[in-house]
Symmetry: C2
Subunit: 174 residues, 2 copies
């Protein structure tokens, strides 16, 4: 194996599945049974048909293992289609986080100043706390959470990544 | 059983779990094995400890079944703590959606006009398509998707709900 082959990459898979009980359990079971890593997972109903759901999964592995994951997802029975979005040009990936910060004085002023810089919005506040809503790539959210850490971070809830391809066509259009 | 008891409600659970392989599979397995409904599920690492993850699950059921779900989650071994956020005052719930709309002429103008009204932002565009990013409660996202349907909706990726309680305290602070 060359060094290049052993390099770990992060890929985003978009998966169309039957919207039936147990499907999500089977997809996640495939990852846990084989020890594949899940960095992020989101599920939603699709626009066209109520009985089809879209799962976006971000996984980090070597290129060979990522190709195994794609192939095994493709063979799973409730799966209609799988696309590796990371093979498309700069896929659109966004996540949302709610971030609670408690504090007064300078720390509070600084938290609000940083939230402006990151285009976060305040969705709940009292004299001694804020809840910020922020959206962006994961790296931006990570950076904002790290900056809030010394300013009175209380808790964070993140959604994980929703992903689409660029351009006019749908991910699963042939 | 009284009529009131049979009424289906939607509750949001916030669950702290060990961040180990297979934990998500076990939590989802509990829902699928017992036929409990999952409307939305999101997972993220927590702010404090890298080995603890937070899962937000929205489920619709009768109050008795919702209480069963809470109790069974609480008994699951990798689960540290469970809170039913719907018992707190107006929990903060937000999701993000990426929405691709293709079209020209009046439909395109109308799609852009509606995106302004819903405070959606354009994150990708050509002369004949837009990708909108929108955040809000699920009902707002549902409404926007429904409005885009006749205007050239191509596809939608949604994250599901991230949830926090209002006020200064963390969900799991006693």
């Amino acid at each position: 194996m060359s060094d290049q082959e052993e390099q770990v990459e992060s890929h985003t898979f978009s998966v169309l599945v039957d919207n039936e009980p147990g499907v999500l359990a089977r997809v996640i079971g495939l990852f846990s049974a084989r020890g594949y890593n899940i960095d992020s997972l989101t599920v939603s109903e699709t626009e066209h048909e109520r009985h089809v759901s879209r799962i976006s999964i971000v996984s980090s592995a070597t290129p060979q293992v990522l190709e195994q994951i794609r192939a095994q997802l493709d063979r799973l029975v409730p799966v209609h289609m799988v696309r590796d979005l990371s093979t498309t040009e700069r896929p659109l990936e966004r996540e949302l986080a709610l971030i609670k910060v408690a504090g007064v004085g300078d720390a509070r002023v600084e938290a609000l100043r940083l939230s402006d810089a990151f285009r976060a919005t305040v969705i709940d506040a009292t004299v001694d706390h804020f809840v910020f809503e922020i959206t962006g790539r994961s790296s931006k959210v990570n950076q904002f959470v790290a900056l809030m850490m010394p300013l009175g971070l209380v808790e964070v809830a993140r959604t994980g990544i929703a992903a689409l391809s660029r351009g006019k066509s749908g991910i699963f259009d042939e």
